[in-house]
Each structure stands twice: as C-alpha cells, then as structure tokens.
C-alpha cells in the first residue's frame, strides 16, 4: 500500500474516532464509529490480513453497529442538552490520556524494531482463510470451543436480562 493511502485511512480512523467521543448526539457517535471501523478495516487490508479486514466490516460495521443504532432508537435517546461540562473531570481525563500517548511515543521511540519496514511476503499457495482456519482447528481447537460456550452463555444471558419480570 502506498504511504499516502496509509496516512489517509489512519487519519480517517482517528478523526472519526475522536468524533465518537466529542459528538453530543448518540446517533452521530454511532455513525462516526462505523466510518472509524471502515478505516480500520482498510488498515487491516494494507497489512495483508484480508480475512480479519472482512470480519471487521461484517461483524463491527455490520452487526455490532446495527445493535448500537437499534438500542439508541429503542430507548429514544436525544442529544444531551444543557448539561454543564465538569471541567475538573474533563481536564483530568484529557491529562491522563495525554500522559498515555506520551508514554506510548517514548516506548515506541526506544523500540528498535519499530524503525524497520515490513519484510516482503512470498506468494502462498493457500489463501488467508485456509491458513487461519487450519490453525484455528488444530492448535487453537480448545480455545475455539470455549469461545463457542462463551457465546452461548452470552446469548442466554441476554435473553434472561431482557425478559420482563412478572409482577
């Protein structure tokens, strides 16, 4: 991927990620999150991780975002109005986030491998999905089944939580 496209998608992702936090209207936040996830999917594709990029679009930009928008519409949430900003909490949060960014910059500055470019790939006879699937069903078979149980438990939990209690 040419460097121009990397910076384009990275800035797209970061700008809309910041828009998620800064927007007062929850619907606008959710739609900014979709754009941010699409930029992230493009970055995954730039790293030759096509399967992860597709999954990102399908699961996040598709299913998870529909869930968010559905809940926002269901609860009929409006933009917060008239609420004063608590300046002490706001400056505290921004300062802690800035310290985190400075920390990350200094760690990456001391990290030798971070200055190297990515090595080139060989042409593979099998594709991305095949390679990940083979690993998933051989080395990571037990975690895969545990994740299956986890998703089942989450489904049951959601049904129980959203059931109305008889009065």
């Amino acid at each position: 991927m040419p460097p121009f496209l990397f910076w384009l998608f990275a800035s797209l992702m970061l700008v809309f990620g910041a828009a998620v936090v800064l927007n007062r209207n929850p619907v606008a936040s959710a739609l900014s999150l979709v754009v941010s996830f699409l930029g992230l999917a493009a970055l995954f594709m730039s790293l030759d991780a096509y399967f992860v990029g597709i999954i990102q679009v399908l699961v996040y930009a598709g299913a998870v975002m529909v869930l968010f928008l559905f809940i926002i519409m269901l609860l009929n949430l409006r933009a917060e109005e008239g609420r004063r900003i608590n300046w002490l909490a706001a400056t505290g949060g921004i300062v802690v986030a800035l310290i985190l960014v400075i920390q990350i910059f200094s760690v990456i500055g001391h990290f030798q491998a971070a200055r190297q470019t990515f090595p080139s790939l060989e042409r593979s006879t099998t594709d991305d999905v095949w390679n990940i699937g083979a690993l998933l069903f051989s080395n990571y078979n037990l975690p895969f089944q545990i994740v299956g149980v986890l998703v089942l438990v989450a489904t049951i939990g959601v049904v129980l939580l959203s059931k109305r209690e008889p009065r």
Binding site: M1, F6, A10, L14, G17, V20, V21, P26, A30, L33, L40, L43, F44, L47, D48, A49, V52, Q56, V59, Y60, A63, L67, F68, I71, I72, L74, L75, L77, E80, A90, G93, I94, V96, A97, L98, L100, V101, I104, F105, I108, A114, R115, Q116, T117, P119, L121, S124, N131, I132, L135, N139, Y140, V147, L150, V151, T155, G157, V158, L161, S162
Partner: protein, 106 residues
Amino acid sequence: MITLGDYLIVSGILFAIGFAGVMLRRNLIIILMSLELMLNAANLSLVAFSRFRVSPAGLPNYNAQVFVFFIITVAAAEVAVGLAILVALFRARQTTDVKDISELKF
C-alpha cells in the same frame, strides 16, 4: 516507507481516544463505543506484529490473526450483554447517564 512504528503509534493514539472517551463521557452507550475503540486499537497492533514477524515460508504469523478473531468474537458477545444490561437499566431508571446511577441500591 511505512514502518512498524507508524502502525503502533496510530494504534496507541486510537487507544488513547477510547480511553479519553471512557473517562470523559457520562452516557453509557458512548462509554461502550469507546470500549470498542480500545479493543480495536489492540487488534491493530496485533495485526501489525503479525505482518512484521514473517515466517521462513514467507507467510505472516497467523497466530496473532487467530487471536484477533477471538477478540472480535468476545467483543461482540460483550456488546450484546452490555446493551442488554443497558436496556434493563433504562427500564428501571429511565436514564443512561452514569451520574444518575451512582447508588448501589434503589
């Protein structure tokens, strides 16, 4: 050329944005969205390292991509449960503001 550090810095800034969202916002839905941003920042650095550690056969290190797959699955389950709790809370209190739900018992 784009180096590994560029991806790591972008991922770190995305994580910080999500972190600031959790600290600053009081709307529970926005806090959940910021959590998603933080999980995705972790995914980005995992995929960058996967592309960086090329195996002798010339393929990326797929272990990291399997890990990203697991993170996405768990994050989807987490969002579903979180939003269900949010709906149950909204039924009880008609609010999604964390300032209004600071008591343990109601």
